[in-house]
Symmetry: C2
Subunit: 463 residues, 2 copies
């Protein structure tokens, strides 16, 4: 396998091939096939997102993939942001369609033409929905699995509220959801309020979750947007308040994508392969039976263990393939299974288990009854992942106090006045773009470029 530190890009592509997450040999470049193991992984991520959304009283819906040009052009400022990236359906059978239909690049215009039918009174608010669908971008840039693709697995939450105060509370609720999810994925990040010129088209402001990826670039893995009344005014979304007055709703959105999987692969993996946090591992415990005397009994014992684990809702399997144990060890390390059990003659006679954590070299001898504490071992793996992930993040987002250090091959924190001029200057020297002010970080300092008052901000090359 490629060396992760030396050739991250090659390593990343190779690990996706070897662990059979997706196949990019499909006839349309940038549209990849989700293979069984990759699909299981993203479905497990979806399940977490669904649970956290449902906990906060969101309802799941599913809108059509097509959006008519009329719907899109209601709000032109918003559409302009996507204009060059939209796939257009123009023919049905052999007929030219009366109106062109877009493959959704995002669903504001699809949803907000319906909101006036659904939201009438303050008793309908807050209104909170989400969908997990594919969105489409006619990318002209170089594509890369899970990072930049033309068909994107996407979560989008949309809310409407009685006023701006309430939609601001929603923004905080999104951060609670994100905190839980990022903890499950063992990902560290910086919350950055995007500069005005880089916010979501139509938004009042946007906060991005930027993580540090190998390859000395940041990866935007999620965003939340405060829309205020901007969309409501264009799509005429009003409600009757308690006093009989019609008011515009205030809106927000929350977007996540398959980039979450890119981050998990890129940040946690090593030269042996994937390393998966247990909440998203399709196989949390793999049992490798070791051939030898009494092999029937070894298998029976392995099934005992599997049954016990399944009763505890652990995703587990016995590798019964006709390969050597060594091959199987390597294969499951490559697939990132958090825990491996070896079951051979000795384990059978001891009624024990030889346990390996994906994150540690040493083997641990445990007793059958220790299966009751299986989550302790799964959490040991998660803690190891978090420790190295935190270390990596901290090493790759460094504070600099002088423009001399801007070419450091990392994400940088620095004081910045917020002007486009100073940001352009930084980008010209270093190819590092302004990811924005760090959210809820109020310390002030002098702009590293012009010396005026500035706020702590993040700059980075990006994926």
């Amino acid at each position: 396998m490629e060396n992760k530190k030396e050739n991250f890009s090659e390593w990343y592509n190779e690990i996706i091939d070897l662990s059979k997450l997706s196949d990019k040999r499909y006839a349309i470049k940038g549209m990849n096939i989700w293979l069984p193991y990759g699909l299981k992984l993203i479905h497990l991520i979806d399940d977490l997102i669904r649970n956290y959304s449902d906990e906060k009283n969101f309802n799941e819906v599913s809108f059509p993939v097509l959006i008519s040009r009329e719907q899109l052009e209601v709000e032109f400022e918003h559409v302009k942001g996507f204009e060059n990236e939209i796939y257009w359906v123009t023919k049905g059978g052999n007929d030219k369609l009366d109106i062109d239909l877009a493959l959704r690049p995002t669903s504001e215009s699809a949803m907000y033409t319906m909101f006036p039918l659904w939201i009438r009174s303050h008793t309908d608010l807050p209104f909170k929905i989400y969908q997990i669908v594919n969105v489409y971008r006619y990318e002209t840039k170089h594509t890369r699995s899970f990072i930049r693709v033309r068909e994107i697995h996407f979560y989008e939450a949309h809310t409407a509220h009685v006023n701006y105060d309430d939609s601001e509370k929603q923004m905080k609720e999104y951060l609670e959801i994100w905190k839980k999810l990022s903890d499950d994925l063992c990902i560290y990040y910086s919350l950055n309020t995007r500069p005005d010129w880089d916010k979501f088209p139509g938004a009042v402001y946007s906060i991005a979750f930027d993580t540090a990826m190998p390859g000395s670039r940041s990866l935007q893995v999620g965003t939340i947007h405060e829309y205020g009344e901007n969309f409501a005014k264009n799509y005429n979304i009003k409600y009757l308040d308690g006093n009989g007055n019609l008011n515009y709703v205030s809106q927000t959105t929350f977007g996540l994508s398959e980039r979450l999987l890119a981050a998990v692969i890129g940040i946690h993996g090593d030269n042996k392969g994937l390393i998966l946090p247990y909440k998203i591992a399709p196989v949390q415990v793999i049992i490798v039976p070791i051939p030898g005397e009494n092999y029937d009994k070894i298998m029976d014992y392995s099934y005992d263990i599997i049954n016990k684990l399944k009763a505890m809702n652990i995703r587990c399997d016995i590798d019964k393939r006709d390969f050597t144990p060594g091959y199987k060890f390597n294969d499951w390390e490559m697939k990132g299974a958090p825990l491996r059990f070896e079951i051979g003659g000795r384990e059978l006679s001891d009624h024990g288990i030889t346990l390996s954590l994906r994150t540690q070299k040493k083997k641990i001898k445990i007793n059958y009854d220790d299966l009751n504490n299986i989550y302790d071992y799964l959490n040991m793996v998660n803690n190891d992942i978090k420790n190295s992930s935190k270390k990596f993040f901290d090493e790759n987002l460094i504070f600099i106090d002088s423009l001399d250090k801007i070419n450091e091959d990392k994400m940088v924190k620095l004081y910045w006045c917020g002007s486009k001029e100073c940001s352009d200057k930084i980008e010209n020297i270093s190819e590092k773009a302004a990811l924005g002010n760090i959210y809820s970080e109020n310390s002030g300092g002098k702009c590293i470029v012009c010396g005026k008052d500035g706020r702590l901000s993040v700059f980075s090359r990006t994926y």
Copy 2:
């Protein structure tokens, strides 16, 4: 509510609106929005299909929605079947695309261009995959929710085998899956081998699962197809056998769609609303607390019950809305919840539960400890649904022995010689199309039209 027997079509539309399954007011006709309750329902149906597929060692994948014209035209006989129904993407941003891209009408051409990369040797066979995705048809006919739409929620399984014998075995395995699924949905059906002119484009033969719907029409809810080597020869899908010879694979497919939901709604529902088999009911047990003295304790007791049910993996909820019990009873009958619990002062003091089955008028008094037998009550509901569903099916698929009776307002079984001529004659008189010979029914008889030797066949008007 509309009367189901008198105005089925209106009743069907109204029940979908009232129970909030889908919204058809979207800007593009025939592309409907899945509302939360409808989406939960179809996801529960998907879960059953996934489980039964996984049990048979299928792997789930997900292919891109777009298929290039080149991929499609590899096998033109197949494509001709869809030619007039394909949505074509012809522009990306402001650029005309080099090659038109189809929104998948079905995925043979997408998948089979990849099969030669994945299938090399007999050890790769049988190869069994499925996906659950949306497919697209530019319908020019009148659309109807879940029955005829332009964006279709679709399950498609695809297999490849060493030879025709093995793919024939696969056809039988599909029937096992279908038997379990149709039992869960309490749907009765006829297995009909479609006439040659109505088989899937490119197939050797197709067997459809046709159910009887109100409105005196049949509804095709699923199909399985034997492809033999037809596609393999066009897409060049070969494998190396044990003797070093290259052979074409033999292939099959299995398709199901949101029409399963249409059948559940249309066949089981009554004038009070939906009636849902418990395996797909988003809420299997709804608790309606009855206001009165000790309401706090009534709520505590209701939560006790909910906790006990949740520990048994029952989908259940307490209706805490600010409505009268009577309103809530009607509302949950409309939504089709199989079981309703009323919990008031008397239930509290008795430590009992007043239970209503969606399918019966009488209320049953049970004890708290009877919750252990909750599946007995759920199965009572399923049995009631099956009894009335079976009765409806049997009454609506009748045998006729003379052409005089062809205009009976039902599906008919009759002897038919298999000729297009006789089938056309029947269709001209009655608008009833040939659904084909009944599968595994070998009794012979004289064709009802020409008097030649015939096989038992089904004719019907169709949705």
